[in-house]
């Protein structure tokens, strides 16, 4: 195929338009339409009932908790909540869909017409308009055995696990996201990330990307100018990490630009994302031939959330991530840039927990964005994956604040904690790192140092305090650094003055 167009060149000449569909698996105890228990990692086909296996005679019943979660999501995304909405059958034959139709919502979603403000790393805010959020059930999982790379083509046979079939999903669909220009990849990523944070804050899903709890389909089209009508879009399916969302958008911009440059037309199709090579390849062509024959699900009555219930859910919503960040920034007194760095470093939750463990916000930030960030980088791990907890940092800072150790010793304590020697207190005791606070011991060390440098006493008495530092240094050396320098200075001055 044609060479890709350089990204910067592409977005100079074309205006990208995004549309993002995000599926989130809800963290309900049971499935969308049956009482099969949902748990990650069960043996294949153990979390099923006649309903989720689509056995003859089985009937669905709506999971009330899933409806509540969907309403929570809708409210968090500033949507209207339908007074009455129905499920519909989306008919298509595929072995991972046990009934050969998916029970979904079609023209009557539970939530619609919302928006979400998405903040980019530099603090720019884009408002993403939400078209709808609707409820549906997940399909089973196919495993293709034999052939290349788990693909169905060339496989000897395929296995189906229906544990996932019927897990409740909410699908959130944006309106076309325009006016983002060269920042399209960042906006796409930030939007998916913001949704993930909201799902977690709402406690409706574990929202773990690596488990497929959150899956994004990214639609992208290019047009010559922002005034031109929308171009033909492609839908890149199952882009399952934040980084991939960004990369997939960049790739499609470059690919489509090349097609348009060559005077060809973009084919409306679904595309597969390849994490390893960072490219998309053609899936099936979307055409009018694809007809899901939607019709209202006759086995289910309409879902009619009362306004009282919706308001009750609204009142019970937790603080959402954006508001939460704003409040913390106010409370902590961080500058905008400091706050952004903290958020971008993934340190927000860690610092919040550290503060909750008694540390000052400034000290907590100093630890996580300083020494700990350095160590994480050195070990090439995420901050949250360091072998130390916010509670331990809080405890460590407490030891510093109380004067039992100083900053320098604190780093040795940190070494001990990271080496698995226990909590900071334990490390201090085991390693004998506590500051010498016994004045008697300090005084004998001071007397010794003064005796060794008799001229110092004269200079100090003569009004020159400079040489005091030399005496402090000598004392610290004798005490192996475990002395409180401030106290040592006080004692020296007392001694000389007396």
């Amino acid at each position: 195929m044609t060479q890709l167009v350089d990204y910067a060149d592409a977005v100079r000449r074309f205006d990208p338009v995004l549309g993002i569909e995000v599926h989130v698996e809800l963290g309900t105890r049971t499935k969308m339409f049956c009482p099969a228990e949902v748990e990650f990692g069960g043996d294949p086909n153990t979390q099923t009932t006649p309903v989720s296996l689509g056995l003859p005679g089985a009937l669905p019943v709506v999971n009330g908790t899933a409806v509540e979660y969907a309403i929570r999501i809708g409210l968090a995304l500033n949507c209207q909540i339908a007074e009455s909405c129905r499920f519909a059958r989306k008919n298509y034959f595929y072995p991972d869909v046990p009934k050969n139709f998916q029970t979904s919502q079609y023209d009557e979603p539970i939530a619609f017409d919302g928006w979400l403000d998405v903040e980019l790393e530099d603090g720019t805010v884009h408002r993403v308009e939400i078209e709808r959020a609707h409820m549906e059930e997940d399909a089973g999982k196919n495993t293709h055995v034999g052939g290349a790379a788990g693909r169905i083509h060339g496989a000897d046979y395929s296995l189906v696990d229906y544990n996932r079939a019927g897990i409740p999903l909410v699908e959130i669909v944006t309106k076309p996201i325009t006016g983002v220009g060269d920042r399209a990849p960042e906006v796409a990523r930030a939007y998916v990330q913001a949704l993930r944070d909201i799902f977690r804050a709402l406690d409706v899903s574990e929202a773990r990307m690596e488990r497929g709890n959150v899956r994004a389909d990214v639609n992208l089209s290019l047009r010559a100018t922002p005034d031109a009508p929308l171009g033909t879009r492609t839908e890149t399916k199952n882009v399952n990490s934040f980084r991939s969302v960004e990369r997939a958008v960049r790739y499609e911009v470059s690919r489509q630009a090349a097609i348009l440059d060559a005077g060809d037309t973009v084919v409306q199709e679904t595309r597969h994302w390849h994490e390893d090579t960072g490219i998309t390849t053609s899936g099936r062509v979307k055409s009018d031939a694809e007809d899901y024959r939607y019709f209202p699900e006759p086995d289910l009555v309409p879902v009619e959330p009362s306004r009282e219930w919706v308001e009750e859910i609204r009142a019970g919503l937790p603080e959402l991530p954006q508001a939460h960040r704003r409040r913390l920034q106010d409370e902590w007194g961080y500058a905008d840039a400091e706050m952004r760095d903290v958020v971008n470093a993934g340190a927000l939750d860690l610092i919040e927990a550290t503060v909750a463990a008694g540390s000052s916000p400034a000290a907590a930030r100093k630890w996580w964005m300083g020494e700990l960030a350095r160590r994480a980088k050195q070990d090439e791990v995420e901050l949250a994956d360091l072998a130390i907890t916010p509670a331990q940092i809080g405890e460590l800072q407490g030891l510093v604040d109380s004067g039992r150790i100083n900053d320098k010793i604190a780093r040795q304590v940190l070494d001990g904690v990271l080496a698995g020697e226990g909590d900071p207190e334990q490390v201090v005791v085991d390693r004998g790192l506590e500051i010498v606070s016994d004045d008697g011991a300090l005084l004998s060390a001071i007397d010794e140092a003064l005796a060794a440098q008799p001229d110092v006493v004269e200079k100090v008495r003569g009004g020159n305090q400079g040489p005091v530092g030399a005496i402090i240094g000598a004392v610290m050396k004798t005490t192996k650094g475990q002395a409180d320098a401030k106290r040592v200075r006080e004692l020296i001055l007392e001694r000389i003055g007396s």
Partner: protein
Amino acid sequence: MTDLTRLSAADLAQKLRRREVTSVEVTQAFLDRIAAVDGAVHAYLHVNAEEALATARDVDARREVGEELHPLAGVPIAVKDVVVTRGMPSTAGSKILEGWVPPYDATLVEKIRDARMPILGKTNMDEFAMGSSTEHSAYGNTHNPWDLERIPGGSGGGSAAALASFTAPLAIGTDTGGSIRQPGAVTGTVGVKPTYGSVSRYGLIALASSLDQAGPVTRTVMDSALLHELIGGHDPRDSTSIPEPLPALVEAAAQGAGGDLSGVRVGVVSQLQGEGYQEGVQARFTESLELLRRAGAEVVQVSCPHFEYALAAYYLILPAEASSNLAKFDGMRFGLRVEPEDGPVTAERVMAATRGAGFGDEVKRRIILGTYALSAGYYDAYYGSAQKVRTLIQQDFDAAFEQVDVLVSPTAPTTAFKLGEKLDDPLAMYLNDVATIPANLAGIPGISVPNGLAEPTDGGAAMPTGFQVLAPAKADDRLYRVGAALEAALEKSWGGPLLDRAPELG
């Protein structure tokens, strides 16, 4: 000794309670009768002798020690093969489910088992309940016990024929467009389609979800009331199940049997008589109206102008829902699996080969119709319009029930026709249900009560006719009151049940 198989379920229950007879004796009597006559009738697809007798022995033992039992405990029952039964084949009359043994029971089967009723077996039916003659069964025809050359009605011809041939005292049927009532009419038995949502659909192999309803197939109105009260009621596993308790049905049947219908307003639906209705059918209907009048009922004519579109709407809604409900039969998880004769064995090709081999012509016809009716660009014209007609028919009923308490009509326009006669003419076959379909479209209850015999237009012995009573949704008790009153008046005039006049079999 009395022939136990001739007794009503109510009488059997009483004899069991009084310990005049054991459940083993009763169950064995029916099993013997099945062995004697079902070769000719072929009402059963599967006979569950061993388990039925085990249940009977268990009931007898419990009764022996004085355990409190359900009124119908120990009374055997037959179940239409469209209802899933754990450990028993459940084919819905289709090759595509041959050999499938469900791992679970339908809710109504659970209730039957909880009541400790021996299940005699599974009864024959048109494949997936699509038909009015049981000729579309993949497992052979069921014969009308009144004339073995004739159809027993359908789709539930097996259940009705079992009752008419005394091989079961009770049976379960399902009614999507008349599949309980029309077989009842043509075999001289009683059949009730309850209010939609009053008997759980959980475990019914779905034909058309918004129309399907299970109900009793019996020889007397009281027996239907007894069985209806057992199988009905709210089921949290069926979202369309009605939360309120059933009305008092047995009480209504008992009241009706007293023969007094004073104050009851009966509406004769103008659109459900006349042209297309066999002369003898119309004559019996008129005679029955006179009996209702004599019992004190006020009989008036009412008009339901949109009924003329009912059949057309039904044959869009039913195939549309069926095309989706039957998609699951694909050879991937259960039942028949057929691999393509040549070429690659892919999932899609196995699905196509399985469905091609496993479904009969009528099923394929309706799947194709329904798929078309739901297709983009046709949905509004077909499925959408049919739903509008459905609303109009509901409004016709609403208006009619403002004037009267019940509506009545002949259940079926003709007596049983000969096997094979209409098999190649789907439209003629569909017309059998012209009087029963409106109730399914509106979700209201209906009963068919045997009301006499009529000469078939093609000669031969007189065949049974049925009288249909329809009531507003959730007022199933009215069916039983009026049905029992008519039954009592008719039996008085005949000097006994109509079925006494059926020819001896075997």
